[in-house]
Structure formats: structure tokens, C-alpha cells
Amino acid sequence: MTEARLHNVLATAPRPRRPSALSASLTFGWRGMLKVKHVPEQLMDVTLTPVLFVLMFTYLFGGAIAGSTAEYLDYILPGILVMSVLFTTVYSGVSLNTDLTKGVVDRFRSLPIWRPAPLVGALLGDSLRYLVAGTVIVVLGVALGYRPGAGVGGVVLALALVIVFAFALSWVFTTLGLLLRSPNAVMNAGFTGIFPLTFLSNVFVDPETLPGPLKAFVDANPISILASASRGLMEGNVESADIAVVLGTAALLTALFAPLTTHLYRTRT
């Protein structure tokens, strides 16, 4: 550290114009990816858990629920895709809550950038995790004998739809992440919500077998509709109404919870 260098570096400080909303968000996405680069074990939960789910449901319950594992794999794989990716969204809230305990958030919040950029960026980074989780499931499914009727194109569309919905749902958990005190509290509250919603959907069982009121709930559950739409896209017989409901729900969740999260992030002491 010499005085001359110090003065030189101070005298040459640039005066750039502010970055665009997109550029700031992508930069925060880059931050998320750097963290994965430094601690690749972070990807364990998004790869290992889905693998366990696929194996467990196919071989443990497949015979009992659908009569044969092969048949059940056709039904269950799109469902497991939905479930695994949606479970991963809880971690967006957990990691935001962890971030908040660090001093660097104060610096981010004092920067002249588009206010939601740190959040949008973090969720963009998380979407990459969703993509990894989804890809692992599809590849494993194919290895176990799953043959999607609509081929690669259908799978890619289904994956895209699930990730869009997951991105929207993450805003609910980032809101939780800002409201609750500890990462553990966020995790517990998150799973307490997402667990029953996922199991009370058509992800695992055909709702035709259910009693009336339960069937009504399962039919109206957006997660059921997302699972049906994914199945449809992968099989090539999707109903456009399902896609519309999924995208509409995603838009609604984002419209409600993204501004709420941004507001809480800005005002949190």
C-alpha cells in the first residue's frame, strides 16, 4: 500500500451512468451463480432429493398405486418434476433470510439501482437450480424407461412452464423470508404450506378415486393444474385452458408478492 498508488486510484475513480434494471438484475443473478461455483455442494439438495423421489415413488408405491411401475412412471414423472421444483422454491426464501443477516445487504440497499434488482437477480439465479433439478428428473426418468409422447420439445416446454410457475411461487417464500426471524422458521413455514398443497394435488394419485370435497379441492389446486399441464405438454395432449390457468396464477402471485417482497426488503430494519 503506497501513498502514490492510493492517490492515483482515488483520482481515477470513474463516474458511470446507472445500470439498467435488467443489467442490475442479471448482475445479482451472476452473484448467485458465483456462490454455486464456490460451494458446488449447494446443488446436492436439488439433485439428490429428486433422484430419491423418483426412485422411491416408482418402486415403492408404483406397484401398489398403479399396479405396475412402468405405468406409474408415465403418470408420476411429470408430477415429481412439479413437486421437486416447487419444493426447491422454499430455499429462495431461506437463502434470502440468511443473506439479510449479513452486512452486505446494507450496501446493496444503499446503491442507486432498480429496487427489486437484488431479489429478481437472486430468483433468476435460483431458476438455474430449478432447471438443474428438472433436468435430473427427466434424465433419470428416461433412464428408467419413461418415454414422453411429445418428445424432447414437449419436455422442454413442460420444464419451462414449471420454472415460470416456480419463479412466481418463489416470491411467496421471499416474502416469508423477510417476515420471519430465522432461516429455520422460513423453512418450516414454507414446507408446512407447500407439503399439503403438493400432496392434495393430482401429483401422486388420480383424483377420481377421492371422496367428493377432497376431489373438488384437488381439482381446483393450481399445483394439480400445473401437473396436468406438464403431463399434457410431455404427452402431447395438453389443454390450453390448463396452461392459461397456470400462467394466470403465476402472474397473480408475482403481481401480489413481488411488490410486497420489494417493499419489505427496502423497509426492513
Binding site: L6, N8, V9, T12, P16, R18, D106, S110, T267
Partner: protein
């Protein structure tokens, strides 16, 4: 063209002020963390906010950096209101928080590139700027290491480097040397002096009178969320007595003799809690040397002595009549008693 302004608050016109607060208040539950703070910081100066733990320094800085909304009062940075024009203010200031405001899970270089990008630099420029800063701050060798493996001093330097990736008119430094060893502290001081020489306005929160004295042109002493004294370092020191001779004896039994002799040489003498130690206010090195020599001549065996600045404790005792206790703890105890 600029010309030298006479120092002192009275001669200041409003337009010279980089930071101006009036009646700033912020409460957390029952605690009034900041309780009516008025500050006037001249553009281009280094202003020290001096106070013990829990006095309200960080809360004040967080309001000025637009992170907290004041409950009452107002604050302006270079003429912009921190609430109504928060976005403008963010474009003018940078914050080096008390908790390290760098990302521990990234490398030093990644931190600076990230900040550069977030402040609008192109990739190429952000990378070059990061390299220059790391070099100038003595961090080039550690640039590829994760910040969580940095020492306290390295982390602080990186933190300050992150605050000057682009030009900023006003810098907030919250306790930049707390917990640092003397060498690292001196490095941080050199950086602050260099920044001041470039004309950056710096608001420096500190618990050390020494630090405020070394770096600041003006000081506000803050206690329980209020400014209790204000002025230049020399005014402040003059008002509280500017230094003290600390003497430790080999034999505690000789303390009464030493007390009598020092009282004759230097007037008031404090007996310290340590039965072998005593101190006396004294600003003049020669007079202190005389006094110590007098002890020797009288056969008092001196283990050690030093001539130091008054500590923050002594400043507080002089200004408030109570020592500078840790006010965070005090507030927590009060809360526990309520519960």
C-alpha cells in the same frame, strides 16, 4: 475556483454543508436510539461522530444512507432530503457498514467487480478497476481468495475499496478500525486521509477519541442518541483537559507518597481502581517528565508511565459526569427487566 474557508461552524453558509440533520429521531420499540440529533458537516471535511457502543451512531448513519426512515426530524445530503429524494442520495453516497459490508462468500475481486457492475461499469472497466483497487489497497495477492478467509484488516480495506469503486461525494464509515491491530488501523487511517485529500466528505463513526482526533476536522460527541458536545478536536480537548499522565508503581504502598508529589506538580490526581496506578491530567510532555523525575528523586519506584490522550471514558466523565458505559447492554438489561 475554491478558496480556503475559515474553520468553525459559525462561519458556514448553508450551501457549504454536505450533511445536515435537524432533530433526527429514531426509536426501536421503547428505545430512542437517536433522540434529536443535529449535525452540520461541511463539504470536503472529515467529521467524527464519537460515542460509546449503543449511543446511536450506526442508527444515524443508516438514516443518512437511506436504509432507515427517521421517525421525526429531517436530514439532507448535499441538499437532497434522505426520505423524499432517497434515490438521488444513493447516487451520492457510499456506506462502509459496521458489520463488514462485503460478501464473504465471494472473492475479493468478485466483490469489487460485482459492485462495479452494479454501479454501471462495463465488464472490462469493472475488472480493470477492481484490479487497480486491489493493488492499491495491498490486496492483490489475496484477490482470488474468499473474503471469509480474510483477516479483519484485509476485510476492512476491501470494504473501503468497495466504497470507492466509483466516485462518491460523501462516504459513511462506521467504526472502520474497531477490532483491528495497530498496523491495520494505521493502514485504514492512511486510506481515510488520502480520501479526505481528494475532497471526499467523510462521516466517521468511532468509539476512539484518538481516531477522531487523528482524522476529523470536526467532532460531535454523542450519548444516548443526543449530541452532548460539538467542535473541532482542539476545542473538544481544551474543554475536557487534553491528556493525562498515567503512572504505575512497583509498590502499591508508595501510592500515597506518589499522590502527594503528583498533586504538587500537576494539581488533580485520580487514583485508579488498580491499587498501584494513578493518573493526573496533563497536556505538556515536559511537565509530565518533571513530575516523573520528581517521583524518582523521592524514592518512589515507578514500574511504567505514559502520557496519553484522555480516553473516551474520561471524555464522557468530563462531559456528562457518568462513564461511557456500553449503552447497548444497558438497553438490553432494561428490556429484560420489563419482560
Amino acid at each position: 475556483m475554491s478558496f480556503e474557508q475559515p474553520r468553525g461552524l459559525t462561519s458556514m453558509s448553508r450551501t457549504d454543508l454536505a450533511i445536515e440533520t435537524s432533530g433526527l429521531v429514531k426509536s426501536f420499540g421503547g428505545t430512542r436510539a437517536v433522540d434529536g440529533v443535529d449535525l452540520a458537516v461541511r463539504a470536503g471535511s472529515v467529521y467524527g461522530v464519537l460515542g460509546p457502543n449503543g449511543a446511536g451512531k450506526t442508527t444515524t448513519i443508516r438514516m443518512l444512507a437511506t436504509l432507515l426512515r427517521p421517525d421525526a426530524g429531517s436530514a439532507r445530503v448535499l441538499g437532497h432530503d434522505v426520505v423524499a429524494e432517497a434515490d438521488e442520495v444513493r447516487g451520492l453516497v457510499s456506506l462502509t457498514g459496521q458489520m463488514a459490508s462485503v460478501d464473504e462468500e465471494l472473492t475479493g475481486r468478485e466483490n469489487l467487480v460485482l459492485l462495479g457492475r452494479l454501479l454501471g461499469l462495463k465488464w472490462r472497466v469493472a475488472k480493470d478497476r477492481a484490479a487497480d483497487l486491489l493493488d492499491a489497497f495491498g490486496l492483490a495477492d489475496a484477490s482470488g481468495r474468499l473474503v471469509k478467509h480474510y483477516s479483519g484488516g484485509m476485510r476492512r480495506r476491501l470494504d473501503i475499496a468497495a466504497s470507492i469503486v466509483v466516485t462518491r461525494e460523501v462516504m459513511f464509515l462506521d467504526e472502520p478500525t474497531t477490532g483491528l491491530d495497530p498496523r491495520s488501523r494505521n493502514q485504514v487511517w492512511d486510506i481515510v486521509r488520502a480520501l479526505a485529500a481528494e475532497g471526499t466528505t467523510i462521516l466517521l463513526c468511532t468509539q476512539y477519541l484518538d481516531e477522531a482526533d487523528q482524522l476529523a476536522d470536526g467532532i460531535a460527541v454523542i450519548d444516548h442518541g443526543r449530541v452532548i458536545a460539538e467542535g473541532t478536536p482542539s476545542q473538544l480537548k481544551a474543554s475536557i483537559g487534553s491528556g493525562a499522565l498515567h503512572v504505575r508503581l512497583l509498590d502499591p504502598d508508595q501510592r500515597p507518597v506518589a499522590e502527594r508529589l503528583l498533586a504538587r506538580e500537576l494539581s488533580t490526581v485520580h487514583l485508579e481502581p488498580d491499587p498501584a496506578a494513578l493518573s493526573a491530567p496533563c497536556a505538556d510532555g515536559n511537565r509530565a517528565a518533571e513530575a516523573v523525575a520528581e517521583l524518582s528523586r523521592a524514592g518512589v519506584r515507578v514500574a511504567s508511565f505514559s502520557l496519553g490522550q484522555p480516553s473516551l471514558d474520561e471524555v464522557f466523565l468530563a462531559l456528562t459526569g457518568h462513564p461511557a458505559d456500553d449503552q447497548t447492554e444497558e438497553a438490553e438489561i432494561a428490556e429484560e427487566e420489563l419482560a
